[in-house]
């Protein structure tokens, strides 16, 4: 059974200038479509990875999953509950304790004025729960010492802080943890430790992860299913094996070509051509067609829909 089901999720940001400037300069409203018609499902106890370049909308999706942002249209259902439209406060409260998030920047995600103990148990205390000894237990589970509970965040390194973030995420015994680039601010050696810890905890606690990343090697090892985003649209979704061995979408091919490889010294890397287009003014039809090496006329005219192709789902007119 799927824990998360995302249906035609769309988020539009109003990035217009202030009202007075618009009136004086006679400019229309500027709307930025960060996420456009994204569909996917995440099975319970699996890891779903969202990859894409910066500006592809992966963080926006993550923030909509946990309810920090409201979708413009479409919906996110977690265990059958839609946080944005649910009116039953008890149900919202229950589902909130099932969802947690690990953030990118471990230096900004811990309140510098709080002791580690208070930070970790906040999700429990905020709901009126009893948290005696919980912080100490969780700290040991994430590989820190129980004595660290009385310290302040500035006494820890980046990797240790990320462990504290993980402990906080675990304290309300969630089912789902959305990880927004959890390792991109860490040293490579520490990245591996944190990722290993995350995999261990997933088995021990029966967690479901949504892993947001731009690092294909991280994703390849962690994910059960990978969704590739381009300009707020899901272009390909497959298991890691299929995605890396039998790539369907030309954008995914380009991404994999551009990724650094250990065996790739001296190889002629085919660099991605062009920049990601302006999301305020997206290209017609398939968003990728201006950069696509195999684009035809139909790509400019019609937006491709996600269609199943073997075990893969792909949004491309020409993929086969």
């Amino acid at each position: 059974m799927s824990l998360i089901s995302v249906k035609s999720l769309t988020r539009v940001f109003d990035v217009s200038k202030p009202w007075l400037n618009r009136v004086i300069e006679r400019r229309p409203k500027a709307l930025l479509t960060a996420v456009s018609e994204v569909d996917f499902e995440v099975a319970e106890r699996s890891t779903y990875a969202l990859v894409g370049e910066s500006g592809s909308g992966k963080s926006t999706i993550g923030r909509m999953l946990v309810g920090l942002l409201k979708p413009t249209s479409g919906n996110v259902e977690i265990n059958g509950v839609d946080l944005a439209s649910e009116s039953d406060a008890a149900k919202i409260d229950l589902i909130r304790s099932d969802i947690q998030m690990i953030f990118q920047d471990p230096f900004a995600s811990l309140n510098p004025r709080w002791r580690v103990r208070d930070i970790i148990v906040e999700p429990v205390v905020a709901r009126g729960g009893d948290a005696t000894g919980l912080a100490e237990k969780l700290l040991e589970q994430v590989g820190l010492s129980a004595l660290d509970a009385g310290k302040f965040p500035h006494e820890f390194s980046g990797g240790q802080r990320q462990r504290i973030c993980i402990a906080r995420a675990l304290s309300s015994e969630p089912k789902l943890i959305v990880c927004d680039e959890p390792t991109s601010a860490l040293d490579v050696s520490v990245q591996a430790q944190v990722l290993n810890l995350m995999s261990d905890l997933k088995d021990n606690f029966g967690l479901t992860y949504v892993l947001i990343s731009h690092d294909l090697t991280v994703v390849q090892h962690m994910a059960d299913r990978i969704g590739v985003l381009y300009l707020g649209r899901l272009v390909e979704e497959a298991s890691p094996e299929d995605l890396f061995a039998d790539t369907k979408h030309p954008y995914t091919k380009m991404l994999l070509e551009a990724a650094p490889r250990m065996d790739g010294f001296g190889r002629e890397a085919e660099l991605p051509e062009g920049e990601i287009p302006d999301p305020i003014n997206p290209p017609s039809g398939c968003a990728f067609h201006p950069r696509c090496p195999i684009a035809r006329d139909i790509c400019k005219a019609e937006r491709p829909v996600m269609r199943p192709l073997g075990n893969t789902r792909v949004a491309c007119h020409l993929a086969e």
């Binding site: 923030r63 946990v66 309810g67 920090l68 919202i92 409260d93 909130r96 304790s97 969802i99 947690q100 998030m101 953030f103 990118q104 920047d105 900004a108 995600s109 811990l110 309140n111 510098p112 004025r113 002791r115 930070i119 906040e122 999700p123 905020a126 709901r127 004595l147 660290d148 009385g150 310290k151 973030c165 906080r168 309300s172």
Partner: protein
């Protein structure tokens, strides 16, 4: 049972007391290294203490009419009076009140009004700043434009306006009693803008940080987030402004009292004393003006220097 103390013991070592943390902090270290800060703290502290314990220190109670002798009027400092032979440390004023005692009592009023006005300004400014920074939108526009409009008037003018209006609506028989409170209200209301601006700016920085998002996603209310998460992180600039504002509030109170719209003659502040003294300056009784003025100067200067030092000490870029 024997295990318990051993298990608990290291816990206590890790969690240092607040005092210990403060004594080990960079700020305290820098304080010890700065002679200006130490000296101005000593001066400020001794002024505050002497104001607090004025009834114990002052030789006479200048506001007890029974203890006054009109014959003692206009006695010069350290010189015996021509009629009564009594001698006063800093001389007496026209009604024979001991200037040293009036200064001590006047400083009480000045400090009380200053501190209370700054506290009022702080409460208003922090509340409005937090709300406008966190909520944004129209709420922010209304609050901050009001602040901008208020800033275009000199704050002493705003204070006089508020003072005048408030005095107008208090019944005549309560006016003298209420004067101090009205003064606090006037200075507090004319001074909240800086607090609101600084807190709003800091709040806008803090609210984008991920720890605030972490609190939002577990369903914490905006009220709890503002109070428990953001407020502790925006307080250090507030502390600096509060110190500098204290000096300004004391001066503003003195100015209002000097203009005759502040503390009444029955409850004189340093400003009132200066106003009384300036009437005798050209007839040769300089001490009635000079000593309260010097006290006001010392008080304001020590607070100001302390504030300047604090601003530098809390600014990591100046280290």
């Amino acid at each position: 049972m024997t295990d318990m103390p051993i298990k608990d013991a290291p816990q206590k070592v890790v969690e240092q007391s607040r005092l210990r943390v403060f004594l080990d902090s960079d700020v305290f270290y820098m304080f010890k290294k700065s002679p200006v800060a130490v000296i101005s703290t000593i001066i400020f502290a001794s002024l505050v203490l002497s104001a607090l314990f004025a009834p114990l220190i002052a030789p006479t109670n200048p506001f007890d009419p029974a203890s006054l002798n009109l014959m003692n009027g206009f006695t010069g400092p350290m010189t015996p009076n021509a009629f009564t032979g009594e001698s006063f440390f800093l001389g007496t004023d026209d009604q024979g009140r001991d200037v040293f005692s009036t200064i001590l009592y006047g400083m009480r009023v000045s400090l009380f009004v200053g501190v209370a006005a700054v506290l009022l300004a702080m409460v208003i400014g922090i509340t409005l700043g937090l709300i406008s920074g966190y909520v944004g939108g129209w709420t922010e526009t209304i609050i901050m434009r009001t602040a901008d409009v208020q800033l275009t008037f000199p704050s002493i003018l705003v204070a006089m306006l508020i003072f005048g209006v408030a005095k107008g609506i208090t019944p005549v028989e309560y006016r003298d009693q209420m004067a101090i409170w009205v003064l606090i209200l006037a200075i507090g209301l004319s001074d909240w803008v800086q607090f609101a601006r600084v807190v709003r700016g800091a709040t806008m920085v803090e609210k984008r940080k991920e720890y605030v998002e972490a609190a939002r996603l577990i369903g914490r209310t905006p009220y709890a987030i503002m109070l428990r998460h953001i407020l502790p992180n925006v307080l250090s600039p507030v502390l600096v402004i509060a110190t500098i504002s204290l000096a300004l509030a004391i001066i503003a109170e003195a100015t209002l009292s000097f203009l005759g719209v502040g503390a009444p003659a029955t409850q004189p502040s340093l400003g009132t004393l200066i106003r009384i003294g300036q009437g005798f300056l050209f007839s040769g009784e300089w001490w009635i003006l000079l000593f309260p003025a010097v006290t006001l100067l010392t008080l304001a200067l020590s607070v100001n220097l302390l504030g300047d030092w604090l601003r530098d000490a809390l600014n990591p870029r100046l280290r």
